[in-house]
Point group: C2
Chain length 212, copies 2
Amino acid sequence: MPQAQTAPKPHRLSAEDWIACALQTLIESGIEAVQITALARRLDVTRGSFYWHFESREALLDALLTHWRRQNTGVMVEALTGAESLDTGILALFSVWVDDARFDPKLDQAVRDWARHSDTLHGAVKSEDDARVAAIAEFYARHGYEQPEAFIRARVLYYTQISYYALSKEQDEEMTDRLGYLEAYFRAFTGRDIDPEIARAYRAETLEASKP
Amino acid sequence: MPQAQTAPKPHRLSAEDWIACALQTLIESGIEAVQITALARRLDVTRGSFYWHFESREALLDALLTHWRRQNTGVMVEALTGAESLDTGILALFSVWVDDARFDPKLDQAVRDWARHSDTLHGAVKSEDDARVAAIAEFYARHGYEQPEAFIRARVLYYTQISYYALSKEQDEEMTDRLGYLEAYFRAFTGRDIDPEIARAYRAETLEASKP
DNA sequence: GGCTTTCCGTACAGGGTTGTATTGAAACGT
DNA sequence: ACGTTTCAATACAACCCTGTACGGAAAGCC
């Protein structure tokens, strides 16, 4: 092992390095904590570096938002467009919510916290939330639910997930436990029982995906 | 009308005046915004007043927390203890959530935001959340739901409400609209249909209570 | 090698917040 | 009335964060 985990040698940072560091502190400590001085300390450089890569602090914050848009916007809507049955559609949503590659829940949470006290951001986040709920509602309606039940079930499903992210700081619930609630969640969200075979397949596939 | 709404005459503040002002700014702008300088500006005095009533900023923050405990802690648990039927119990919960006298949702939201980046607070809020979910789960179990369905339904119900507070900045949904969803909500939360007579009575009573 | 571009360190100015100490004014009790 | 208690204004020290200006080192290009 030529280099240990501490590899602080390659000085010379890029703008992306600053953005990555800012994203991490945004997630960990909120938008008020992403200050140039703190980031510089964390990156072990001085603020002189920052002001070469960025115009100001607001420029960095804009970069964080575009990252959020690229990473988290639209994935739930896409996941539901190709769902053939009720069971597979709901499970496709569940999959998005545990797949770090397609959706970053902590970032979503951090941006939502940020938006709560920023008038300009609030509109953007609310639009995204509305779009997600509308997509789920349309999915419910496509599978036989009348209005307003489809809309309310969509809201209940999405809101539950949002709170799940908001209230559990770290994963204090193991994946195996969460999968144990699969039937109960499905019943609460849809009012129907899940196909046992589909549930079995989903469990196996999810457990395998969370292993490596 | 001898005095208009602006009645800033009675100078001489008490500690409670500072706490009330701090609570309001906490709710409006978050814990980072409750700074002594800003509060003093808002109260139209100087910080000299604050440091007579309080030892430090942390002392004020402690006061805010004890206020939250007195105002919001335990009310949901109490609302469910005396519920005889499933319908009345769920509706009793709904009543708590719209009754400003028994529960302050915005304060709850602000404290939860605060707790997300404060390790000491996080434990306290999590305990309260767990107690609320446990009380609802116990209520579901008392009315014929098996485990883990009772627990999951309790979580879905509570988490949905928490997100409802978190995602709607002001009341962008009128009370009449919310009541229109009553049957759909009840069905999603319980899997059963609400008694039409009980629903009618609840609607009338809630509308009347929100008028004066 | 020399020159330019890229990146970072240093220093300084400006603004903001917390606390403390001290003085001053207004209300209260007797 | 008069002194005491209650409350608020002022001034000052210490710390933190942003933004700018400028200078220097290191890498890349020819």
